[in-house]
Subunit: 338 residues, 2 copies
């Protein structure tokens, strides 16, 4: 349970995304240009709504990974700009639909599109971005890339449905939960990294190594998100603290605390996930149980386990600026919890 | 305004889809098998929800068109089975999302998926079918087909957003309305027909001729639907009579009646489209206005215009069973109104 990450950055400095952002800054300008051009439409509501989310302060984590992985492989072409934009469009489409599904009203510290323009517009603009993403892939013309991203899209949707059917079920197993986040979150991280190896025309083992890097990073990212929903402040999260709790979202901290709790505690979690424990006192009590059972600490230990696997999957690639930046991105993902 | 279709079937017999269904019956079994196999998932809710709609008595009009057009071109391969399934998956995904957007509770005479399983499940299973459709296309491997269908998907989504922003606006022009239905309905009809020419490796003029056939048929179909919403019974429509009226849907009959009406009538239509005229008496009054202004008759005249163009776009193809069936399908589309 005490897995730690072998940190590569000097003690005293906080891990950050800065090195990766600096590494791909020039490429990211190209990607942003594709995004802005290709989200246009004769129907003004489309760029208006899409732009709200796309311009809304996201980290562009997934396209950044495509770019950084391409840099790791010394890829010198330009195909990855369009494909990184595809990845961001798919991600944006799923966020629009997620916020409808969850009835969310806050994302990245701003009002959600569904709150401003309504659910119908969010559903349909999500569909547009998703279709546009496929149009962009077809323009690139690689059937291999199309296969990776269409498969990732289907897996994401399956993961979302799986999560929906597990909703409020406090007995959800850790295995099932890992399946869910492996699909809904990690599949796109994996695909974003893997397609870099395809455009760079690298052999399959390198494709699979980058896939593993992205997948493990994605799981680590989600687990840390799950933990800090109970411990962070609104500014850090861009959404309210305890939102998962009040929405009855069964995440790994809850699964562990429930599994380790006595009968009274189990009943508390069951009630909470069914929406009967939504006061600030209930949240404080939940946080105490999560601490007492070690559920938060062990969620983070699990996250470090996947983070370390992400880093180790890069073992076969040559050292250099890109590898260092990709490694520090994992450390950053973990460090957000501290 | 008195365009008529040059009927090819004997007087006394009603036009029907039977000849086209008989023509492609064997192929359709293959398509149904692909549909049933490929809508499966480890997440039980997916085939359950998708199956409700897919098995729910639809005519399979769009995949049938792919098959009939392939037959017109004497295509002897099997690629069109998978691609016809793609077309049906795209269509099913848009129906699932449409019913969420419209808050519909009845489709094809049955309760809608969103009513039974909720909006979130319908949104996510729609996303799954859409992604699965792209996976199937990628398996086929034709970039040309991928381009046609990904473009159609983006155009459909744009058309849906366009319709959303025109909602309840009784001043919507006929031009804009034709743009909307050209996108949301006719684009997939056009693509379904066109891809048959691609798999049969026919020259571009034949591709474009089939595209025109499908597009014009799709517009005719939608206009007839719009007309019979005011005149048919629930059994024929599979949804309630006057649903468009009560939902404030600005269709061509309303656009024409409003444009031709006096100030009092214009106010009636404006009120109605804003949901202030929803009684049976209001619907009866609306139907009377539609009759008096010739709005229904002229909507059907417009439909015949597009229907005739669909038929004439087949002029370059050799006569035979397939051409006859495709022609009669147009006559059927129109005849539903009488």
């Amino acid at each position: 349970m005490s897995a730690t990450i072998h940190r590569i950055i000097p003690a005293g400095r906080e891990p950050s995304l800065e090195p990766m952002m600096a590494l791909v800054a020039g490429d990211m300008n190209q990607v942003n240009s594709v995004i802005l051009t290709r989200m246009q439409s004769d129907i003004p509501l489309i760029p208006e709504l899409a732009g709200h989310l796309i311009a809304g302060g996201g980290k562009r984590m997934r396209p950044m990974l495509t770019l950084a992985c391409a840099r790791l492989l010394d890829y010198s072409g330009a195909r990855h700009h369009k494909l990184a934009a595809c990845v961001e469009f798919i991600h944006t489409a799923t966020l629009l639909h997620d916020d409808v599904v969850d009835g969310s009203d806050l994302r990245r510290g701003r009002r959600t599109a569904n709150l401003i323009w309504g659910n119908p517009a969010s559903v349909l603009v999500g569909d547009f971005l998703f279709s546009r993403s496929f149009e962009l892939m077809v323009e690139d013309g690689s059937l291999k890339v199309l296969k990776i991203l269409s498969n990732a899209s289907a897996v994401i949707a399956e993961g979302e449905v799986n999560q929906l059917t597990a909703q409020r079920q406090v007995e959800t197993s850790e295995e099932r939960y890992l399946d869910i986040i492996g699909a809904k979150t990690a599949a796109l991280f994996a695909a974003a990294c893997r397609i870099a190896a395809v455009v760079a025309e690298r052999p399959e083992p390198e494709e699979l190594a980058l896939d593993a890097y992205g997948r493990n990073l994605g799981i680590a990212f989600q687990l840390v998100d799950d933990a800090i929903d109970y411990s962070s402040d609104e500014e850090t999260m861009g959404k309210g603290v305890g939102d998962d709790f009040r929405d009855g979202k069964v995440t790994l901290p809850v699964i562990l605390a429930h599994a380790r709790g006595d009968a009274v505690q189990k009943q508390f979690w069951r009630d909470a996930m069914h929406g009967h424990r939504i006061t600030d006192e209930d949240l404080a009590h939940a946080t105490r149980l999560l601490e007492d059972t070690g559920a938060i600490a062990d969620t983070l230990a699990r996250a470090r386990h996947y983070g370390q696997r992400a880093i180790d999957s890069l073992g076969g690639f040559a050292s250099g600026q890109a590898k260092t930046a990709l490694t520090e991105a994992v450390e950053f993902a973990i460090a957000r919890a501290y």
